[in-house]
Symmetry: C2
Subunit: 418 residues, 2 copies
């Protein structure tokens, strides 16, 4: 059984836009045991797309194509399919009526360019006859082709509601692979590689993958097999081994984020947090509040970008800033204590640093960052030198700060700075 | 002349990771007039990759492949190339010595798994003999293949310093296409499509592309031609027409972001800004401070996630919150005025809303958002209903708030709410 994905769009072949659809479709298929062999990306171009479609129909059983079905004039997929597979276009009146009704129901006005959505190649079956999304399937020889719109929400809904069930009706994968991602923060890729050398020999049925995902490193565990119990056992053994090897550096699994882990811990302990940010400029607050229900534990944040705001809001002493600088151990401690005090929270977290590219000095080059945490009558602080450009320093600082909260609540030592 | 890209990695074919490299490489090639015809993504799999490599070498002049060159055991590209193109691997002692030296110089310890990086297929030429990155080129028949690491920074540097100059030495594109992206906020894709119908007939040599990029819509203008002056004229004409049609909805061109535009305006006018965020949780501050030099105009932000913090930091009256709610026109006005007052800035910007999925009511469903701007002795405010999930509501709210600053400073009316 072979399955492949075709992504269509000038914006994707020219670097104007990053793909979201092949990424989603391949993950979605794999989670049902359907392994994608190849993803091909082409422009809205007759010659290339025709040849790609014909090749795919020859070699694969299922083909999922996305993009180029919209109302704008650069959407050419239906037209190209019609020519490449030699099928006349016809106006599907039921589809047309349906689109018109839907627009009316949603209070949207009718626009003539929308008629295009109801023209289909002969033999095409609309995927969602009662919906408002274009997208159709087509048999060609022994292959089944699915054409989905490029709008990610629509593509995802059609994928989940129609394409996956349709494929599974025709083909039942024997092996359902199990995957898990373990997320690591604070160790380098080559350190992890070295650590895993023996492990891979020992766990022969387990496939490991290593993916830097700045500032984290992700380790994927894949086990294939027929028997659920066996897979489960192999799987758990592998995960246990990794956790033994890497200890508190593993902070989450699968799609859990650092902010979700921190949020979960705070909620569980019924503790509250406030944050004082300088160089991260609000990113820590943004990450914490990306979790629904975060108002339970996140009381407030202050983005103290100027010296004056550090003094006025947090009560950092002007003297401290004058003597040691706004980017210093002394300042970050007063920030952490200050925000905890004014917010009356259990924990006060603070960061100050030089995100660059400007502002570095010989003593405190770009990437110099201080983290402070005030909790249980104590204040912890340390200095880090984080590599990379402005975005990376901001992101890495926010990650390290959140990791401090995680490590404190779990009783792990903080990652030592320099 | 044909050029294609091959992206190698299980993480990319299985939906575990989103591609960054094909996206970058295709944009980079196109900006030099080198149009990519196809991008193929495959796993670290001998059969598929071999067949893709052989097909590519038959049909394309230049092939840029990325991924699978690292030190970990799932990096298999070199080995597969060696088998697929029938070339023995050899240990390049110069490369090995060089890697060892580099590690020493950077203060990093040697790790045996790094030796792998010095094994190359016969005929391979290392791209950066003096650098610390793996990556090599290889001739096969009439094709030239470039193999680059999957680490984005390394891939980009090798692309810019070696691959592009090497291709341009062998092939000079006759037509250099010119591209521009115009970014639009506040208009729907189908509105834009309708508006453009006549324009495309009128400007025959210009190719338009339309890409939703939530919450923005991007319009690309492409003109190809041999004469710089002609292209320039056609180009400017197209841009002018679009700006006439869409007016203040066009907020930036090319890779300029909303926050960069707002920052540029504030700097130019020598004005300062402070921000009070509730539902965006720090995202506005994060976006503003992603611009280097933003401390010139961004004085402070407060993330007033609790009612108490709104009262204590900003002086919002408890009475106002009790009578109208924390998500209300009255509250957002007091927030904007309050933050301007305490920060002593020229402008005070505030948002409050319900990002969801919880917290909505019949009166104020999820997506209800208030924006307030206090400036020049006046306070403006309005209510919006923004669609989508938590992330989208946060992002769209931050965009709308920044757009208010842009529109105010340019003398444009705000986008009306409901």
């Amino acid at each position: 059984m072979a399955i492949e994905i075709i992504v269509i769009g000038n914006e994707l072949i020219s670097g104007r836009k990053r793909d979201l659809n092949a990424w989603y479709a391949s993950g979605c298929l794999l989670s049902h045991g359907l392994e994608v062999s190849e993803i091909t990306t082409v422009g809205d171009n007759y010659d290339t797309l025709s040849s790609v479609l014909r090749t795919a129909a020859r070699r694969s059983d299922f083909i999922v194509a996305t993009g180029g079905l919209g109302p704008t004039e650069d959407d050419l997929t239906t037209e190209i399919v019609s020519k490449a597979l030699d099928r006349h276009l016809f106006l599907d009146q039921t589809v047309l009526d349906h689109i018109k009704e839907n627009r009316k129901r949603l209070g949207l006005c009718w626009s003539p360019c929308l008629e295009k959505l109801a023209w289909l190649p002969r033999g095409a079956k609309i995927l969602d006859p009662k919906g408002e999304m274009c997208g159709f399937s087509l048999s060609e020889g022994d292959s089944l082709l699915y054409f989905l719109p490029g709008v990610p929400e629509q593509m995802r809904e059609l994928m989940n509601r129609f394409v996956i069930p349709d494929i599974l009706r025709r083909y039942r994968p024997a092996n359902i692979p199990r995957h898990r991602i373990l997320k690591v923060y604070g160790l380098s890729e080559s350190y992890i590689a070295e650590t895993f050398k023996d492990l891979s020999d020992e766990l022969k049925r387990v496939l490991f993958g290593f993916y830097p995902c700045f500032p984290e490193n992700h380790i994927t565990i894949t086990v294939q097999g027929k028997k659920d119990v066996e897979i489960e056992r192999e799987f758990n053994r592998a995960e246990e081994k990794i956790r033994d090897l890497l200890g508190p550096y593993v902070f989450a699994s699968d799609d859990k984020t650092m902010e979700a882990v921190v949020g979960g811990l705070l909620k569980e302990r019924k503790m509250t947090l406030s944050v004082a940010e300088s160089c991260t400029g609000g990113l820590i607050g943004h990450r914490l509040t990306s979790i629904s229900g975060s108002s339970l534990y996140f009381e407030r944040g202050v983005i103290v970008y100027s010296d004056r705001s550090k003094v006025e809001i947090l009560g950092v002493r002007q003297e401290t800033i004058n003597s040691y600088g706004a980017v210093s151990d002394q300042t970050v401690r007063e920030m952490a204590e200050g925000v905890k005090e004014i917010a009356k929270t259990d924990m006060g977290l603070a960061v100050t640093g030089i995100a660059g590219p400007l502002g570095g000095t010989e003593d405190k080059p770009v990437g110099t960052v201080f983290i402070g945490l005030s909790v249980d009558g104590k204040t912890f602080s340390d200095q880090y030198h984080l590599p990379g450009d402005r975005d990376k320093v901001k992101l890495n600082t926010s990650e390290m700060a959140l990791d401090w909260v995680r490590r404190y609540l779990n009783g792990y030592p903080f990652i030592p700075g320099i």
